[in-house]
């Protein structure tokens, strides 16, 4: 921690990576040229997380300035790929991203134990980043969760309510038939069309913030509604008429019959339909394209009106990234998405059980 090169008032401004690079080169006895070519090359092997951690340390405890401290931080994505064997010496030196020289340094670091491999937990604690070693899924997970929350809060009450009305209260006739046909058609409309509708309705017309979980949730709610209505109606239909008769003959009103008896009995089916449509919504990517949720959003959204990503769009973005290291992250993001779904479905099964033995 060279006192001459650290800005006490603004430690983030310090080029800690270069400091470390020069110190390492000095340790190896390499003499750098005037432009610091070697140090710059060495520096690129270290991630900017090193800088953040060092700056953090200095801010918390300024007395470390002038001393030698040990800091652990991730290597850069290129270094990581080299260690994993994704970049090898066999490749054309002009095309590969790690030079022979850097490879020697990396081998050296590995030999003397300065580099160890471990799980990069930044994956779970960070938002998206342009640097693969620092990019995480938390931003997308939070974005997806907020979006699903909006979807659930809108689609479930509306969908179940509409189904109950259509099935139990509405007079069957031409209008209900027309609505039924419409709902069945809407369930089959490609999701990208819902994205367009959302773009026109929520962003261009209602001026809601684009890229926000609010708009994403609204669009997915539109998409989930037909599925929820259809599932709810069919489970309401499946409730034996004898229960309805029993309640009506006891002097229960239509509303009491529905809410005391029919709906609770239909609940497991309603939940199944709802969860399926929610899981569907979670994995949906196409409509998000059109409302700006498939774009680079660093950081973690704190509210439904802030820009956010979503897990499936993160998968898409990472898979399309030019840095090779992002492709590994894509696999990780897919796993996280799957785990998210498994957790949701498990919760659904538990809830279902609960409802099934309510008495």
């Amino acid at each position: 921690m060279d006192p001459a090169r650290i800005d006490r008032d603004y430690p983030q401004g310090t080029n800690f990576q270069l400091l470390v690079a020069q110190q390492q080169l000095a340790r190896m006895g390499v003499v750098d040229d005037a432009q610091g070519t070697q140090a710059t090359a060495y520096r690129t092997l270290l991630s900017s997380e090193l800088k953040f951690r060092a700056a953090d340390l200095v801010r918390r405890d300024p007395s470390v300035i002038g001393q030698t401290v040990e800091i652990t931080a991730p290597m850069s994505d290129d270094a990581d790929l080299y260690y994993k064997g994704e970049i090898t010496r066999d490749e054309d030196a002009a095309l590969r991203r790690v030079s022979d020289r850097q490879m020697e340094w990396l081998d050296d670091l590995k030999r003397d134990g300065s580099v160890t491999s471990g799980f990069n937990t930044l994956l779970f604690t960070q938002g998206d980043s342009t640097e693969p070693e620092l990019a995480g899924v938390l931003g997308a997970v939070v974005g997806s969760a907020l979006m699903l929350l909006v979807t659930a809060l809108i689609a479930i009450p509306l969908g179940v309510g509409a189904a109950v009305y259509l099935e139990e209260f509405a007079r069957k006739g031409r209008i209900t038939d027309l609505i039924e046909v419409n709902i069945n058609n809407l369930a089959a409309v490609p999701s990208i069309v819902y994205g367009l509708l959302g773009l026109a309705l929520f962003i261009n017309f209602a001026h809601l913030p684009r890229s926000s979980p609010l708009v994403g949730g609204l669009v997915l709610a539109l998409m989930a509604l037909p599925t929820i209505i259809i599932a709810t109606r069919s489970s309401l239909k499946a409730v034996p008429p004898s229960i309805r008769e029993a309640a009506l003959a006891m002097g229960a009103s239509r509303t009491q019959t529905v809410f005391h008896h029919v709906l609770p009995l239909a609940m497991p089916g309603v939940m199944t339909g709802t969860i399926i449509s929610m899981a569907h919504a979670l994995g949906e990517t196409a409509p998000l394209l059109l409302i700006g949720m498939v774009s680079f959003v660093p950081g973690i959204p704190g509210a439904i009106t802030e820009p956010a990503g979503a897990l499936p769009s993160l998968v898409y973005i990472w898979e399309n990234a030019s840095e090779l290291a992002f492709h590994e992250r894509t696999a990780a993001a897919i796993l996280v998405l799957l785990v998210f779904m498994i957790v949701m479905n498990a919760a659904a099964i538990l809830l279902r059980r609960r409802f099934e033995r309510r008495w």
Partner: protein, 322 residues
Amino acid sequence: MKLPFFRSPDGREGGTPADPTEAPRMGGQVLPGADAPLDRRDETVLPTEPAVSDAQGEVPPTVTAPAVPVGPTKIAARDISVFYGDKQALYDVSLDIPDKTVTSFIGPSGCGKSTFLRCMNRMNDTIQGARVTGQILMDGDDINARSVDPVLLRAQVGMVFQKPNPFPKTIYENVAYGPRIHGLTSSKSEMDGIVEVSLKRAGLWDEVADRLHSAGTGLSGGQQQRLVIARAIAVNPEVILMDEPCSALDPIATAKIEELIDELREQYCIVIVTHSMAQAARVSQRTAFFHLGRLVEHGDTEEIFTNPRERRTLDYITGRFG
């Protein structure tokens, strides 16, 4: 008390009180008498003799339906016709149903017994496309009047269905449901009392007292049917309608329900639809015979079974059709 809609016995009270309902005593159909005296192929000719032979063996039924006295008229139906869409299911039925009496409706399937029964608690209102014309007076008031809330009417007119249909809730909840929605009580202890009394009256208390909070659907068919009866009487109805309450039950359960009906007769006006002539003979004091949507004949049960006026009645009770 003689009611205008029940025929007087025609001065034939000395007629043989033979019971044609000898053979299968519970739930079964009565077999035709082997020695029926008349050629019954010609429907237009009425029998000139008391139609039923007295040669059949007389076995006293388990529940002996005492002939009369019956209570005052509870329900008076006038010219009731029911249409399901364009199809007419019931034609101008007029019938007086006495209080504190069991009245049974008999007749072949599809003749409109259930339809008529549903008129009395306005359950036909809940069927889309069903239309009822005519008048039903309960204690002199038109139950189809605009001012009558069918929900309140159904609290006064309980109904028991063919298939036991307890709610998929606990036994306690099944019985407590009616009193709760009608606000009959607000305290837990009162509710416990209602539940206990209702279950006792339905003859189920001893069997379920220790498992009131287990599922009502876990009971046997006969117990379920008695639970449904307990549920119906928990709201203090005046009339109990039963639509073939025993047809899904075994003979022993049937016997229990029949005993129960006989006990309940003292407090309620009971109407029971049954397919079993034997059952009608055992539990009811009045019988009405329906055929093809029309009320063919009605009167004292004994009279109908021993001395029917109409050829169709005779044919039906002797098992010639149906």
